[in-house]
C-alpha cells in the first residue's frame, strides 16, 4: 500500500532567516499511529503546519494520499484534520456553532447525528450551547478535537494534544485515538510525554534541530536500544562483587543490599539463567528479583544528546 503521507526533502526557512527544517524525508503508513518526538523548537509544529497548509514550505514537497499539499491543496486538505498546539477559540460562539462551521468549511454537507456523536464521544454534548469563553482549558482542547473530527478526516494531526490536560482526560484521549485508528484513521501526534508515545504509537520519529534523526517501529526501537536490568535483592549485604560473577556486567548497590545486572536481551550474552546458576553455586541467597526495561524517555534523551 502506498504511504498516506510522503514528505520529500522538505525544508523551511522562516522570514527571520532561521532554518527550522533541514531536508525532512518521511513516509507515514496508512492507518498507523505515528509519534513525533523532539525537544522544544525541534521543528515538530513547523512540519505539521506545512502538511496542513498553514505554513508554506521553502523546498521539497508533501503528498497527502497522493495529492500535493500545495498544488492540489483542495484534495489534500479535505483529507486532513488538525488539532493545533495552541488553544484558540471564538469566545462568543457556541460549541455547536463551532463544529457546524468547521464541517461546512471543509465542504461537508450538514450531518447532525454525526456531529452529535462526535460531541458525545468527547463528553461535550451537554456543553453544546455554551459559548467557548465559558469552557475550561481542557474542554476547549476537546472542542478543538471535535472541530478536527467534524469533517471526518482520514488523517488526523494532533500537535501536543495532551499538554495541560489532566490524567483522566489524557486517558480518554488515548482511548479516542485508539478507536479512531480502529476505524482506519491515520494519526500523527507530537508529545513531550514519552510514556504516551510508548503506549500509543506504532512508529516513532525523533526530530532534533530540524533534522529527523530516527524513524523506527516502536517495538524494534525498544528492542534495539532498550537495555534490560535485573535487580537482585540480597538476603545478606555484600561488600564487593563476588569474583565468580566477574564475567557478567554486574554492579553492587551502594548499601550492598542489591546486585544490579545490566544486559542487552538481543546480544549473545549468557543472560539471566547463567547468572542465577552462578549465584546459587556461590551460595548467595536473595529475597526478590526485579527486571525493568529502559523507557523510551531514556532512549530519547540519549539520542538527542548524542546528536551533533
Amino acid at each position: 500500500m502506498p504511504p498516506i503521507i510522503s514528505i520529500c526533502n522538505l525544508t523551511k526557512t522562516y522570514a527571520s532567516g532561521f532554518q527550522a527544517l533541514k531536508g525532512i524525508n518521511l513516509e507515514i503508513h496508512s492507518g498507523e499511529i505515528f509519534a513525533l518526538l523532539g525537544p522544544n523548537g525541534a521543528g515538530k509544529t513547523t512540519l505539521i503546519n506545512i502538511v496542513c497548509g498553514i505554513v508554506n514550505p521553502t523546498g521539497g514537497f508533501v503528498l497527502a494520499d497522493g495529492h500535493d499539499v500545495v498544488r492540489d491543496y483542495r484534495a489534500a486538505r479535505s483529507r486532513i484534520g488538525l488539532v493545533p498546539q495552541e488553544l484558540s477559540s471564538n469566545a462568543f460562539d457556541t460549541v455547536w456553532a463551532g463544529v457546524t462551521f468547521s464541517r461546512g468549511l471543509f465542504g461537508k454537507p450538514a450531518d447532525k447525528p454525526y456531529l452529535e456523536k462526535v460531541l458525545k464521544d468527547l463528553s461535550l454534548w451537554d456543553k453544546k450551547n455554551s459559548p467557548m469563553m465559558t469552557l475550561s482549558g481542557g474542554m476547549k482542547r476537546r472542542v478543538m478535537i471535535a472541530k478536527a473530527l467534524s469533517h471526518e478526516p482520514q488523517i488526523l494531526f494532533l500537535d501536543e494534544p495532551t499538554a495541560g490536560v489532566d490524567v483522566e482526560l489524557r486517558r480518554d484521549m488515548w482511548e479516542m485515538v485508539r478507536s479512531l485508528r480502529a476505524r482506519g484513521v491515520t494519526i500523527i501526534l507530537t508529545t513531550h510525554y514519552i510514556e504516551e508515545a510508548e503506549q500509543m504509537a506504532d512508529r516513532i520519529g525523533v526530530i532534533n534541530k530540524g533534522e529527523l534523526i530516527l524513524v523506527e517501529e516502536k517495538s524494534a526501537l525498544m528492542k534495539k536500544l532498550g537495555k534490560k536490568q535485573l535487580t537482585v535483592q540480597l538476603q545478606h549485604a555484600l561488600t564487593s562483587v563476588p569474583a565468580g560473577l566477574a564475567g557478567h556486567q554486574v554492579e553492587l548497590s551502594a548499601d550492598g543490599e542489591e546486585l544490579i545486572y545490566t544486559f542487552d536481551p538481543r546480544s549473545g550474552e549468557k543472560g539471566i539463567a547463567s547468572l542465577m546458576k552462578q549465584l546459587s553455586e556461590l551460595g548467595i541467597e536473595f529475597k526478590d528479583l526485579q527486571t525493568n526495561q529502559s523507557s523510551l524517555e531514556e532512549i530519547f534523551v540519549s539520542l538527542v544528546r548524542a546528536a551533533p
Binding site: V55, R74, L82, S88, G104, L105, G107, K108
Partner: protein
C-alpha cells in the same frame, strides 16, 4: 482526484459556512448593529435636518433635510463596511482561529466571498434601515431605485473589500482603527455628504475631486434626486477603479500569503 472533487470546483459549502457564521455574529449583536446607527441618524436629522436645515435654503430644489439623506447613508455604509470586514478577518488572526481557514480545502476567493459577502450584506441592510429611518423625518422620492440599490451594493462590496485588506494588514488593534480614523472619517466628512461641492470655493472644489468619496456620494445622490455634482458615469467609473484596486491588492495578498502564511 475523485469525480466528486473535480465537479466541486467552487466550495459553495465553505462559502456558505463562512457567510452564515459571520451573519450569526451579526444577529447576536443585533442591538448594537442596528440601534446605534438608527439613533445617530435620528440625531443628525434633529440637528441638521430640523434645527439647522430649516435655515438653509434648498439645494438644487431639494430641501436640505432630504439633501443629506444619501450622504448620511453612504457615510454609514462606508464606515460600517470597513469596520465589519476588517474585524471579521482581523479577529481570527488575532485569536489564532485563522488556522482553520488556512487548513481548509478552500481557495482564497471563496474565503473573500464569504467574509466580504457577509460584511457587505450587513452594511447594505444597515443602509436600508437608515433610509427607512430618514423617511420618517423627511419626505423624498427615489428617482432611480435600481441605480440606488446598485450604488449601495457596489459601495458596500468595495469598502468591505477595502476593510478586509486593512484587517489583514493590521497587526494590532491600533492599526485596525488608524485607517478608518485618520483617512476614512475625514474623507467622508469632506466628501460632500452635507453640502454640494458647488458650494465650495473653486480651489477647494478642485481638491475635493481627488476624494473618492465625492464620487460615491454624488452618484448615490443622483439616484435619489436626478441631480449630481459630478457626472454619474464618472461616479461609476471611479467606484469601479477603486474596486479594481482593492481586488488587485487582495489578489496580491493571497498570492504571496502576506501576513497570513509564514
Amino acid at each position: 482526484m475523485s469525480a466528486q472533487e473535480k465537479r466541486n470546483v467552487v466550495a459553495f459549502e465553505a462559502i456558505r459556512a463562512i457567510y452564515f457564521f459571520e451573519m450569526a455574529r451579526f444577529r447576536r449583536t443585533l442591538l448594537q448593529s442596528i440601534v446605534s446607527p438608527v439613533l445617530s441618524t435620528s440625531l443628525y436629522f434633529v440637528v441638521f435636518g430640523a434645527a439647522i436645515g430649516s435655515r438653509i435654503a434648498a439645494i438644487d430644489g431639494v430641501s436640505y433635510g432630504a439633501f443629506i439623506v444619501p450622504g448620511l447613508i453612504m457615510l454609514s455604509v462606508l464606515t460600517q463596511s470597513i469596520s465589519n470586514a476588517s474585524f471579521a478577518i482581523f479577529f481570527p488572526k488575532f485569536s489564532g482561529t485563522i488556522y482553520e481557514i488556512l487548513s481548509a480545502p478552500v481557495s482564497y476567493i471563496e474565503v473573500v466571498v464569504g467574509y466580504v459577502g457577509a460584511a457587505a450584506s450587513k452594511s447594505i441592510l444597515l443602509g436600508l434601515i437608515i433610509l427607512a429611518t430618514a423617511r420618517l423625518f423627511v419626505t423624498f422620492d427615489i428617482a432611480h431605485p435600481v441605480w440606488m440599490l446598485s450604488f449601495l451594493v457596489l459601495t458596500a462590496a468595495t469598502f468591505s473589500l477595502f476593510g478586509f485588506i486593512i484587517g489583514i494588514w493590521a497587526d494590532g488593534f491600533e492599526k485596525l482603527q488608524l485607517v478608518p480614523l485618520l483617512i476614512i472619517t475625514p474623507l467622508t466628512f469632506l466628501g460632500g455628504s452635507f453640502y454640494s461641492i458647488d458650494m465650495l470655493p473653486p480651489f477647494w472644489r478642485t481638491v475635493t475631486l481627488f476624494n473618492p468619496v465625492v464620487y460615491l456620494v454624488s452618484g448615490f445622490r443622483w439616484s435619489f434626486f436626478g441631480r449630481s455634482d459630478v457626472s454619474v458615469g464618472l461616479s461609476l467609473a471611479m467606484t469601479g477603479v477603486f474596486l479594481f484596486i482593492c481586488l488587485a491588492v487582495i489578489w496580491w495578498i493571497f498570492r504571496t500569503g502576506y501576513r497570513l502564511r509564514t
